[in-house]
Amino acid sequence: MDLLLNQILAGISTGAIYACMALAVVMIYQAIDHLNFAQGEMAMFSTFISWQLMQWGLPYWVAFAITLVLSFIGGIVIERLLFKPLAKAPILTNVAGFIALFAILNSSAGLIWDFTIKEYPTPFGSSPFLGSQLISTHQAGMIGVTVLLLIALYVFFRYTRIGLAMRAAASVPESARLVGINTSWMIALGWGMAAAIGSIAGMLIAPVVFLEPNMMVSILLYGFAAAVLGGLTSPFGAVIGGFLVGIIENLAGTYIPGVGNELKLPIALALIITVLVIKPAGLFGRPVVKRV
């Protein structure tokens, strides 16, 4: 019983990592209808920028805010320079673009900051949380921030003009254009927001997994799994999906004989496939109906 509780708690805390990343994945999917394979590397790069700012002596929250702004601008710049010209290209061309971006960001980070792991500070402290020795204050803080982010996004998409415009541009671009929405800039805005959310995810994850150029590679995979499980169109689903993936992964590793540790990663993949087969829209996503 104790072990079960421990594993669930440990699952929730790793799940928070996946949830953060899944939010960024959903954000970009909302804007461009594709999964961005370079999402993790963009987050990693932002995190390095904030680390660098702190190395130069800026306090945590100042570095945090500057990084957020820089990432937002960076996301828009990437869209304008790289992906706007590809907007009408076939999907495979876009995928190649994502992978190129992945390689470029990963290698440049290695070149600039080298590959040794770096300690990354946490604003929440790392003592045990509320006397529990299984979850640290940082992990609790991370869960808190994820939830706040989720609420902010919900309000943004539901009640602000620009949020509604973005949703319209993504789901019915032609009608959106007809009512005067600049869909091209909505996409750029989506990139900027995804990059900013990614940078928050990166800055929250780095104290747990340590900062290095490859830190996001495997996390992004789980982030995808979480987003698909919860529904690629639903930020709420993505967060729930993140926690579920974390818990399922831990419990399956502990209790299903034969799965053990060797098969922990395939569990994430199995989840993606199962969801896609049984409920393609995910647990909380809206099924997409297309007129044929």
Partner: protein, 403 residues
């Protein structure tokens, strides 16, 4: 008549002498070596998941530059050709072929990674090209009968693990051991060494957890190991995961006797990021000096090392254990080539590599030396235990042989 006879005799002696001299000075070469140059190949993960180790190749290139600037080896300059394999075995095979067949190197020195070396081992032995001082601690490089062209360099993982087993049996015979290991050749090699070392008492290991390098965080495994009630935690991990484990243990207030493999014992690369306050009392073993440790600042060998860095590799991070590693390995390579003299055949390179006696590169711990023989292809076999205190490792106990 007598005069001409004497002349003839003198001439004959002279001819005889010169011919013996010729025989003595006869230069023998295989592909890759000439009067002016020795070509050495190398394969490193400059990109990809293990790219942190690429520093080793860069250090070696810098060291050979230093040797060349000082006149080379017996008048021959070293041409060091180092290729990237991204830590991918198929690429390593491709690069090994390129080095042997197109660049025509004399030997391949210090190729990195157990998977990559495993992939090229058969090829190198079939081609009879030395695969010398491979940069991996797997135990399988010490098989001179089966693979006479392959030789390791650093202490084997199994050997190191046996030293920990010896230590535990002696100081904590009733230990309950929990092991966290990386689920690949590296981790399993250590685990085998540990179990062999414990022998009949291998039931002291009460919990084992393997993790994959693709896992973002290993917290779940540590939670499980803590639940086992163990009082010794052996961390068979690579740097990132070693640091995560140290931090997680501190967060959970779990304070078992913590043993950390040498692979992850770097102060700059692991302990500092994980936090000095979280790392007090951790045990490990070492064979080389740590560039980040001030106790070596006045050590003559390390002074030579720091001078070398200042002059030939100024951007190097001296906290990075890979720099110390590359320096020691390159120095061993140069030593072997010096011993070869003018007989630069591949067979002689292996013969000389297998006859190193008490050779001590500048960066090895005092008391540890390199010894090889035709039946012993494991150059470094000794280690010393150390304990982390304050901001550095403190060596304790005797130099222990892992055999």
């Amino acid at each position: 008549m007598t005069l001409s006879k004497r002349r003839l005799l003198i001439a004959a002696i002279a001819v005889g002498l010169t011919s013996t001299c010729n025989a003595l000075a006869q230069k023998k070469y295989d592909t890759g070596a000439t009067d002016t140059e020795i070509k050495i190949g190398n394969i490193m993960p400059y990109s990809g998941p293990a790219s942190a180790y690429g520093v080793i190749g860069k250090t070696e290139a810098a060291y050979f530059n230093k040797i060349n600037a000082e006149g080379g080896i017996n008048g021959r300059k070293i041409k060091f050709i180092s290729y990237d394999d991204s830590y991918s075995p198929p690429k390593a095979v491709e690069q090994a072929r390129k080095l042997v067949e197109s660049d025509e190197v004399l030997l391949i020195f210090n190729p990195l990674g157990t998977p990559s070396n495993t992939a090229i081992q058969k090829y190198m032995n079939a081609k009879k090209v030395p695969q010398l001082f491979v940069a991996t601690g797997a135990t399988k490089w010490d098989e001179p009968k089966q693979f006479p062209w392959t030789m390791g360099w650093q202490p084997s993982y199994q050997g190191e693990a046996r030293i920990y087993a010896k230590y535990l049996l002696k100081t904590k015979p009733d230990a309950k051991i929990a092991v966290l290991y990386q689920n690949d050749d590296f981790g399993k090699d250590y685990l085998k060494g540990l179990k062999d070392g414990l022998g009949a008492k291998s039931s002291m290991i009460i919990a084992e957890e393997g993790y994959e390098t693709s896992e973002p965080s290993i917290d779940g495994h540590i939670v499980k190991l803590k639940a086992s009630g163990a009082d010794v935690f052996i961390s068979i991990t690579t740097p990132k995961f070693a640091a995560q484990a140290i931090k997680k243990l501190a967060e959970m207030n779990w304070t078992p006797l913590h043993i950390l493999t040498n692979v992850s014992a770097s102060v700059g690369g692991v302990i500092k990021p994980a936090g000095f306050e979280n790392s007090q009392g951790i045990l490990s073993a070492a064979y080389a000096k740590d560039g980040a440790d001030p106790q070596w600042n006045n050590d003559p060998g390390m002074k030579k090392f720091f001078d070398f860095l200042a002059k030939y590799y100024p951007d190097a991070n001296k906290l990075d254990g890979s720099v110390v590693y590359g320096y020691g390995a390159a120095q061993t390579m140069v030593k072997v080539l010096q011993m070869c003299g003018d007989d630069l055949t591949r067979a002689n390179v292996m013969k000389q590599a297998a006859s190193l006696k008490d050779f001590t590169p500048d960066t090895l711990l005092p008391g540890i030396s390199i010894n090889t023989s035709p039946t012993d292809f494991a150059p470094i076999k000794q280690l010393q235990m150390m304990r982390f205190k304050g901001e550095k490792w403190e060596l304790f106990g005797d130099i222990i042989s892992s055999e």
